[in-house]
Subunit: 234 residues, 2 copies
């Protein structure tokens, strides 16, 4: 697949995927982080845009191996995993943004459903600033079944539901935890809700009805980071 | 100005701005939240797109009064204000996303600079899901001077700087507080850094170098919400 954008290409070069070829505009080709790569200089931005099928290339794109999805059960085998599970989040920008935040927050991985979900496309690589090169992303046939397996392995599954009475700081996000977020507008499906141990909600203190799912993920992940930090509570 | 998008138009109708006229495609015009409005039905999506200058209208747009910026000193007069100040955040999507999260988190307002900053355009209204109709947004000539005034009034100014050694939960975000965030890539300008009381950083536990500014704002704002909640720490 062709990935594009500076961070997306840069992290592909730093990550495990094989990179067959890099194209860049003359100016981008001189950047230090491209020094180790063999770069084909591209004459015009339009030529680059036709290569990657997007105007959003920031002067660089690369032909990389297809994205390798992680094995979901293997994520559960890690010590004290912190996993983000997304229920039918269809917007590539949101999926990419959440992947980026999850990688920054040190999450073990991201789990998405096979159907009605954005998958890891070049647009998602770009939106994630290349985070998907380092963050395991697993696809599962059925998200509720995955949450069942997670619970069987001792994970607590915390579903984000706008009308839940419990704030994230009032629950224990240390140990093995899955944070489950749904699509904006629709939220979590009933079967997914039923598969969660607890439902939590970020307080909504204004007049707007909902947070963006990416903002909610950031607030929840960094609440987990706070609780899991060695000096938490001090 | 013409605002477009379902949430942007809906919140404009609920907020203080005068709405002169609403246009919608037939299907959108029948939605319950448009019941109280006088709606001109628009024949085609293309007609609507030419009215609002964007394809991103979701079937509805409105002619509303120009956006009224708030008075920055008045924000400081509120009891225990929680203010978000942005240093040269130029991306309308980021400004909109931060406004949305700030409104949800019950922030007192948002302060932006007059130069090299995104301002409240229709794209920002859309990206904020209409939050800018309810959240005071002030423009100041000089952000450092504003922070100086804030400190003179007893506010603590917390600057987000990726290399700061202090986590947000280790500082006191109760009382009067300004959270200062810079643009991605560039961060805070030196004079803005010098105007902050403390520098804080969300831990980066992966390989990616930085959080998106909208994700950072969400994590910081909800850490403030946690600390300011009546039952915080229990």
């Amino acid at each position: 697949m062709i990935v594009y954008g500076r961070n997306a290409v840069r992290e592909a070069l730093r990550g495990p995927r094989a990179v067959a070829r890099v194209w860049a505009l003359a100016r981008a080709a001189r950047e230090p982080w491209l020094e180790a790569a063999t770069v084909t200089v591209c004459g015009t931005a339009a030529e680059l845009a036709s290569l990657c099928g997007s105007e959003d290339h920031q002067g660089v794109c690369a032909d990389v191996a297809e994205f390798s999805y992680a094995d979901a059960p293997a994520l559960l085998d890690r010590p004290d995993p912190l996993i983000v599970a997304l229920d039918q989040v269809q917007d590539p920008q949101n999926l990419g943004a959440i992947a980026r935040t999850a990688e920054c927050a040190g999450a073990t991985g991201l789990v998405i459903g096979e159907r009605r979900s954005a998958e890891v496309t070049a647009a998602v690589c770009k939106a994630s600033a290349g985070a998907v090169e380092h963050l395991p992303v697993a696809r599962v046939r059925n998200l509720s079944d995955f949450l069942g397996e997670a619970k069987a392995q001792g994970c607590w599954c915390h579903g984000a539901a706008a009308d839940a009475p419990t704030a994230p700081h009032a629950v224990d996000l240390t140990g093995s935890a899955v944070l489950v977020l749904g699509s904006e507008g629709k939220g979590l499906r009933p079967r997914v809700v039923a598969s969660c141990d607890t439902l939590i909600a970020l307080p909504l203190l204004g007049r707007i009805e909902s947070l963006n799912v990416g903002a909610a993920a950031a607030a929840l992940l960094y609440e987990a980071v706070r609780q899991r930090a060695p000096a938490a509570g001090t």
